[in-house]
């Protein structure tokens, strides 16, 4: 990765140590203090020029290399994403506005994202449009010099705390369902928006329904070209192509286990320690598969098959490592788990297990990844 990336890793770990409590499990809990920690940490990163590291310098970033961006992804995910929901704004909302936004939209949104002051939510999925996103029904119907939006979004993370929504809605009926879709940048305070949290096993704030009942939007809210929103969505998905560095948290937790168990580690069933070693191997495998994709992308090569293979490997790793961690936890002595590091380990492993259940569903299900990989395999010349 090179010395710059290594120095960045050290810097990030130091900042996490200084500003994120060891029992931090992410910003999305019932305790508002956790959100406050994430907001403060974002300001620290912004002050250090690390929040929007990957952004071009003209928009306040550092124009960081793909490898530096990888280090940020790894370190943040490994430490329960202390940027909170900001990663969405930084990773893809901001870059998309840079590419498609009007000067007014750029002035309005980019500085606030760069300072970590605003939370966005993504208004894509609907009850009948999940993996088949283009089948969505939320519609923006002409009304005077603008539109009125009617419809329902679902599984919308952070909608309860977001100030803005990156909304995909139908504005016309095209020959293909991918045509006639438009992106709107909509303030969540707009009249007619109602958010209903969905209690779920991942914890609060992760899943919500968002209802749009005649929400007024105008041309000024359109991102990019009217009816051409699908192309923007494709770009958004491309920004997230490598996705979350799930392997980093898996590895950190797996490596923490022997110290937490102390002398008890050697008394664990040999088969379980074998599975632990296997999971560490799979962490390495997923990391190297990610690096291969990143390496190809930084050379301008796009390989949907390699990307899908990585995502299949890393999401399975997430779930399998969670099972191994929970089994280790189940055999750990109560006295070990009463120590602070033991308590944190129990919280982290349990949180990891719950969250990992969604990893093969969220951000492109494993079935979609298999379809993409199969398509690449069966089309490529032998």
């Amino acid at each position: 990765m090179g010395p710059r990336a290594a120095a960045l890793r050290t810097e990030l770990r130091q900042l996490v140590k200084e500003h994120v409590p060891p029992d931090f499990m992410g910003a999305f809990t019932d305790d508002p203090a956790d959100l406050a920690i994430a907001q403060r940490f974002c300001r620290v990163l912004a002050d250090e020029g690390l929040l929007c590291l990957a952004w071009p310098e003209e928009f306040g970033g550092r124009g960081a290399s793909a490898w530096e961006q990888t280090v940020v992804r790894e370190e943040m995910w490994a430490h329960h994403e202390p940027r909170g929901a900001q990663y969405m704004g930084v990773n893809w909302v901001g870059p998309t506005i840079m590419r498609h936004g009007t000067p007014r939209q750029q002035r309005e949104h980019l500085p606030r994202i760069a300072r970590g002051e605003v939370i966005w939510c993504q208004g894509f999925s609907e009850p009948d449009a999940g993996s088949d996103l283009a089948s969505l029904r939320t519609a923006a119907r002409p009304d005077g010099d603008g539109w009125r939006v009617h419809g329902q979004k679902i599984w919308t993370s952070y909608a309860t705390m977001a100030q803005w929504c990156f909304l995909l809605a139908r504005t016309a009926k095209g020959e293909k369902k991918q045509q006639g879709l438009t992106i709107f940048l909509v303030p969540m305070s707009a009249p007619g928006i109602e958010v209903r949290p969905i209690p779920c096993m991942m914890g609060p704030h992760h899943l919500n329904e968002v209802y749009f009942d005649g929400v007024r939007v105008t041309e000024a809210d359109v991102l990019g070209t009217l009816d051409q929103g699908w192309q923007v969505v494709q770009e958004v998905l491309a920004f997230e192509r490598v996705g979350i560095a799930r392997y980093a948290r898996c590895e950190r937790l797996l490596l923490a286990a022997p110290a937490v168990l102390g002398d008890q580690w050697e008394t664990l069933p040999g088969e379980l320690r074998g599975r632990w070693a296997r999971m560490l191997t799979h962490c390495r495998r997923a990391r190297l598969l990610a690096y291969r994709v990143i390496s190809m992308q930084s050379e301008g090569r796009v390989s949907p098959g390699d990307t899908a293979a990585y995502r299949i490997a890393v999401t399975r790793l997430d779930q399998e490592s969670a099972e191994v961690l929970m089994e280790i936890l189940g055999l750990a002595s109560p006295s070990g788990l009463d120590r602070p590091d033991g308590r944190w380990f129990r919280l982290e492993a349990e949180d990891h297990w719950r969250y990992s259940q969604a990893s093969t569903v969220a951000s492109g299900s494993i079935e979609m990844q298999r379809i993409l990989l199969a398509r690449a395999l069966l089309k490529a010349p032998s």
Partner: protein, 310 residues
């Protein structure tokens, strides 16, 4: 570490694969099985043409990568010949090759070649080894034979990683081929009026195999780099690779057979040969469970080197 082999090594691998194809390809192992006494003669010309035994994988980083590429090409054609083992030969002994052996019942797929072998256990005990009579005809024993050992010394610890890693490159070549064969078959075979490749149940099995194969590819490069750099944890990395390669072989060969259906068991198709001749690589010196246990034991509580290792 570079995520891929050097361009020169990749080119040498392509050259080797073409040369082996021109020399007979799938026919090479079939001829050797029919006439096991001539196995060495059947293979010798093509390896001479490739300058295989002039490679110096222990002394030259470029040659190590070329050796890996050659093993992969040999695996692709399922040669049933100990290419990796010959390339791993020790530098300080008058031996033609090196095999890693289990502490009990040492064996290797090196029968009938008349070569001088060094054997090394996972903990570095070296012996000179002579292959006994094979366990059976090649069709079932795949040239595997017990080894008679003459103990030498305990100086082989540094040999083990290379001795484990290169055969994994051979196995990787076999997985490349198994996926290619499965893919080729489902693209032409029709059932219920459409190609098998149109069925999602078939597609998803193929992706399972490909994810495993691709994972071995990156781990094999990592372990090779670890050997090349002389890292103290090179043995851990080699065992991790071997464990992943053995798991991948289970998945990949199961999928390849399943997608071929009955025709895949027939000797008129290469899969039948490839599958049988993958066996020694997958069982010796340690099978999957024993490899995993050895890895876990070696790692202790420190784990594999990674982002968060001490």
């Amino acid at each position: 570490m570079n995520i891929e082999l050097s361009l020169e090594a990749l080119e040498y691998g392509r050259l080797a694969q073409r040369a082996l194809e021109a020399a007979g390809g799938d026919q090479l192992v079939q001829r050797a099985e029919r006439d096991p006494g001539r196995r060495a003669d059947i293979m010798a010309p093509v390896f001479a043409e490739l300058g295989a035994w002039e490679l110096n994988p222990r002394g030259d980083a470029d040659d190590l990568e070329a050796a890996a590429a050659l093993c992969r090409a040999a695996g692709y054609w399922g040669l049933g010949y100990p290419v990796a083992e010959r390339l791993a030969r020790p530098a300080d002994l008058a031996a033609d090759g090196l095999v890693v052996i289990a502490a009990e019942r040492p064996a290797a797929a090196v029968s009938g070649l008349g070569l001088r072998w060094t054997a090394v256990t996972l903990d570095g005990r070296r012996s000179m080894a002579v292959a006994g009579d094979p366990y059976g005809p090649p069709r079932t024993a795949a040239f595997t034979a017990p080894l008679d050992l003459e103990p030498l010394d305990d100086a082989g610890a540094a040999d083990v990683a290379l001795g484990l890693v290169l055969p994994c490159w051979t196995l990787l070549g076999m997985l490349d081929r198994a996926v290619d064969l499965a893919r080729g078959h489902v693209l032409v075979r029709e059932q219920f009026g459409q190609r098998l490749s149109a069925f999602q149940g078939v597609q998803f099995q193929l992706t399972d195999a490909e994810v495993e194969r691709g994972g071995v590819e990156v781990l094999a490069k990592y372990a090779l780099w670890s050997v090349q750099a002389g890292l103290p944890e090179a043995l851990d990395d080699a065992l991790a690779l071997r464990m992943a390669a053995l798991e991948a072989a289970e998945v990949t060969f199961r999928v390849a057979h399943q997608l071929h259906g009955a025709i895949g068991f027939c000797d008129e198709l290469p899969l039948s040969w490839l599958s049988r001749y993958s066996q020694p690589l997958r069982r010796l010196p340690l099978g999957l469970s024993a490899t995993r246990a050895a890895l876990a034991s070696g790692l202790g509580r420190r784990g594999l080197t990674g982002l968060f290792s001490a």
